[in-house]
């Protein structure tokens, strides 16, 4: 299976990397700021990308990423050496994003003009950001559709998909991050994949038959 074989080396690399993440964290706990800088450089992009895909809002993701790192700094004394750094960091980021999304829903309820996270207007707005033919590249055409499909996922499915697919976090750790049982996490992942397939088929990214078959096939 191509996907599986392609992920195996990443897993090995990730395990090796994260062992040193914990060492860096211990060093920072002991006062070594250079170790924190290493952690920041190593995970800044991943945490930002996670938040960006989760919130579908670049500016908000920037703010949340910054806040995540500040929380990491503040909570460093409480970090337990047995904890995996990435799990801990993504938990902080995810909780911030969830809180932010809840506040956004409240804000949207107060303003008819605003669109809550993941609702159709946002999807449409992302979809209409599609670049014109002059930009040429296929990826440039594809990207808004993929972003729109991702944004259309319910929050609990989107966070599982983003963590597993883009951040490379195993299901067991996602369960820790989201405080959900592992089977629930896997179910959400299946639902997310099914919804994405259907959405991408509607947008012409995937063949229609795949979408229809998949919808009926997946639980």
């Amino acid at each position: 299976m191509s996907v599986a074989s392609g992920k195996a080396p990443d897993l090995v690399k990730r395990v090796a990397t994260e062992q040193s993440d914990e060492r860096l964290m211990r060093r920072y706990q002991a006062g070594d700021v250079g170790a924190f800088e290493d952690l920041l450089r190593r995970h800044r992009t991943a945490i930002h990308a996670f938040l960006h895909r989760l919130t579908c809002d670049s500016a908000r993701a920037e703010d949340l990423a910054q806040e995540t790192w500040l929380r990491i700094i503040a909570a460093t004394p409480r970090w337990q050496r047995s904890a995996r750094f990435t799990t801990w960091a993504f938990s902080i980021a995810r909780n911030l994003a969830v809180d932010e999304a809840r506040r956004a829903v409240h804000r949207a309820a107060e303003s008819l003009d605003a669109s809550p996270l993941g609702e159709a207007p946002l999807v449409e707005s992302l979809a209409t950001e599609a670049p014109g033919p002059d930009r040429g590249a296929e990826s440039a055409l594809l990207r808004p559709k993929l972003e729109a499909a991702l944004a259309a996922l319910p929050m609990e499915q989107r966070e599982v998909f983003v963590l597993r697919e883009y951040a490379g976090v195993p299901f067991a750790e996602i369960a820790e991050i989201t405080s959900a049982p592992v089977p629930t996490v896997k179910s959400r992942m299946r639902y997310a994949l099914e919804a994405l397939r259907a959405d991408l088929a509607r947008r012409g990214v995937l063949p229609d038959d795949a979408a229809s078959e998949g919808r009926s096939a997946l639980p």
Binding site: V3, Q29, F36, L70, L142, A149, R197, E213
Partner: protein, 430 residues
Amino acid sequence: MNHEACRELLVDLAYGELSHRKAAEVERHLAECETCKVERDHLDATVGAMRRLEAPPARERGEAVLVAAARKAAEERQRDSFRLALSGFGIRIAAGSAFAMVAAFLLVSVRHGLRPPTEDVVRAPGPASSAEPAPVAAAPQLAPAEAAPSLRAGGESPSAQSAQPGATPRGEPSRRELSRATAAKKSAAPDRTASLSAPPAAALGHQAGDEEGRGPSGPQTTKAEPPRESGAARAPAAAAARSETGPDETKSAAEAPSIVRRAPPVAPAPESSPSRADTSAPLHRSRPGPRLAIPGGAGSFAREIERRHAAGELSDAQKRFDPCPGGDVRRTAWIDREQRVLKLLRERADGTLIEEWFDDAGRVREALVRGRSASGPWARHLTIGEHGEETVQDASGNGLAPEVPPPALVRRDPAGAFFSGPGCDSAKRP
């Protein structure tokens, strides 16, 4: 394996989260089941499509802010941990000190009238040092008793000592002159240091012992009043005596926390070997933050700082290093509320101890450097004037001098010195 079980595992298979055995089992089913195979292909297609979504770039802005925040937090944590680690110890020591102060004060009051209790802090006897802790004011009579064992070399007054052949540290004739000049200066026109210590002169065990009590009458009183031995009386010359009494004294110091803080041995008292293992062991018994009486007599800076530490006004910080030639193995800093280091204690790999007391501007004003040569322990007490002028005394009272030049003092910036590297020979200074 049925369809349902296979579909349950397709996501795990896609992300490599199945064991080899389970993955092989699923693959076998997929090879035989067209429905599940189509399902797997759809899943792969979806994942493959979504994988083309590139990661949004993270802007560089804010990174410097985060690093600065991390640095600030780390510094605060370090300060807090110093305080936390040492406050508990400080509380215990402060309680012990307070008890000893009260006891000493009461005894002094009863026997000799009221005296400033703060002056007794450094020299107050520990509970295990004597069944009857004698008041400091008894020094004129008691000091000789205490000093008796050491009088062979350093029991006399500074002037007498300097006049005695052989009492002069080798290769340091000028120090004798300085010592004499200091004694004369103190008796005639006290400088700032002397004036501060002058009022409680009678109460100051070490001064009384050094300049008065350890006079000619010493040997006669030695046997007359042995039970009145006390930490107070012991302080002036006890160090030299202790180096001979050795294990018993150091053992009691190790067993009694207050003594550990107040009067650890002037120098370790190993049987013979000057090796680091031998010399460092007794020193380490006094951990942490040993409170060390100054055999040659404390100046106002040392005394005031010791008093503040005993009163719990100062925090301690410690740093340890792996032993290296010429380097420190441990540093202790006493820090006031304004984060100024007022005392720095350095213990070197060869057993040498350097205590330095600093003024508010971070300038060293008083120092006690102690070590052990092949002939025995040596000690040098230095006072440094406002303009850097030094007065050096042989504080061990036995005339011994270091075989190699003693380590350089930290003249300024004790905080920087505390946080610097161990100062091995290649690095010269801490």
